[in-house]
């Protein structure tokens, strides 16, 4: 059974419809990516799953219908969202950001271990643990956003453009860590990326979104080999 099942999802911002009934699924343990141009509805898809936009259609997570749940309830099912723009709590420290990530959990002891675990993935965050998070660099804040999401011990991570605005070396480091997280902790991921090469490299499955509709789906290899994807998104 798929971990996440989205069926005929329609999402709107007021009168403007952003998703025109998309369907896709995500296997447990996999990394699935959603590709598409600006305005195709990638971010909206992630926001819909988290209950941040008004939607119609069915979204089931681990066999449970989450389409009518409030955001914080969905998060408590094990869905961690690394939002567009990183969503840093700027006025508290790096470590308090991580603690906030574990807010939905009650196992105090394990939380301390997990903070160390995040620091082992991102040693830079450990150096900055008592620093106000708003003063971190863009790359550090992105690491913090991923770390904060990990603190939930999520079953599924939703990643919205994690490479956005980062230097190539940092992007490489970050994606390496995402791969490790997926392999070691078996966290499933739904990845939205502008950088299609990067995304297809990390993902097992891919969906191509155009103006609110799924136009193509398959394994990453199939999608990467597709003529139109190659020309429009991979640029060769």
């Amino acid at each position: 059974m798929a971990l996440l099942e989205v069926n005929n999802l329609v999402a709107s911002y007021g009168p403007i419809r952003a998703l025109h009934g998309i369907s896709f699924s995500l296997e447990e343990g996999s990394v699935t990516t959603i590709l598409g141009a600006n305005g195709a509805g990638k971010t909206t898809t992630l926001r819909s799953i988290c209950g941040m936009v008004s939607t119609e259609g069915a979204i089931s997570f681990a066999g449970q219908d989450i389409s009518r749940m409030p955001t914080e309830q969905i998060v408590r099912q094990g869905v961690a969202h690394v939002p567009e723009g990183r969503g840093t709590f700027t006025r508290v420290t790096t470590e308090e950001n991580l603690r906030l990530g574990s807010y939905a959990r009650k196992d105090r002891k394990a939380i301390e271990d997990d903070i160390e675990q995040v620091y082992s993935y991102f040693p830079r965050l450990k150096e900055r643990r008592d620093q106000q998070a708003g003063t971190l660099s863009g790359g550090e804040q992105q690491m913090l956003a991923v770390g904060r999401a990990l603190m939930l011990r999520p079953k599924l991570m939703l990643l919205d453009e994690p490479s956005f605005g980062l230097a190539p070396l940092i992007v490489e480091e970050l994606f390496g860590i995402l791969r490790r997280i997926n392999e070691q902790q078996k966290v499933s991921m739904l990845l939205v990326e502008q950088n299609a090469t990067l995304a297809l490299d990390l993902a097992n499955h891919a969906y191509l979104l155009e103006t609110g509709r799924v136009v193509l789906s398959g394994t990453s290899k199939e999608i990467a080999a597709d003529e139109t994807v190659r020309k429009s998104y991979l640029g060769y």
């Binding site: 409030p70 969202h81 006025r91």
Partner: protein
Amino acid sequence: MDLFLQQTLDGLATGAIYASLALAVVMIYQAIDHFNFAQGEMAMFSTFIAWQLIAWGAPYWLAFVVCLVISFVGGMLIERIVFAPIHNAPVLSHIVVFIALTLIFNAFAGFIWEFTIKQFPSPFPSELPFETTLIGPHELGVVGITLVMLVLIYVFFRFTPVGLAMRAAAANPVSAALVGISVKKMLALGWGLAATVGAVAGMMIAPKVYLEPNMMLGVLLYGFAGAVVGGLTSPGGAVIGGFLMGVLENLAGTYVIGSDLKLTFALVVIVAVLLFKPAGLFGRVVVQRV
């Protein structure tokens, strides 16, 4: 010199009350970006509840605690019932509701308990165990109670997960929801706490100004002034501002303007701060990129 010391210490005692109200106002301001005008009347209503409990025969401290619990629940209910539905409404709607709440509490207090002034007991002994003419026992007690409360609130916000979550929900509601914090609950909790802090302030000032539906008008004005002086974005600043206003009020009253212009003085301070240092002494200066 004695007069100066007396007035300063006495000012710290009233300042403690202004500080509490300033803190209550800032707590709500941080969460919803609006100034709760009804804070004073809420505190007055709480004080009447305590008075009623005492009149029914409850010992002071029992009445005190029960009043705090009722105020806490009442504050949460006000948020849930009145403010949650207008969460995204424009500023003016909020102001109208604040004014309405002020009038409702004022009128209801008058309706239930009448507008005649009442004595409200002080829980502190009438004589200090040591000899001093500088500060009265009630004043000293007020400073003590307020400081304990402020420390508790500081510890709560600074060191507990729920306190951290409340700060997070106020500063960044979207991200807060994404880590599983119920922003609604945090808002309600914030109102509950603010109402509780206000209730303490009301019960502490009532023995001095006497209990009646309009007793908080001047007190709230000075509380506002304290919040503005300290900075609306800084709870710690608001507390310091409150103490400062208490001392300034007394010193200005004794040496400069006399007692007739006390309220005017608070307003002048508010206007002056907003004109020349709008962020207050300790507030963050918000710079906007355009």
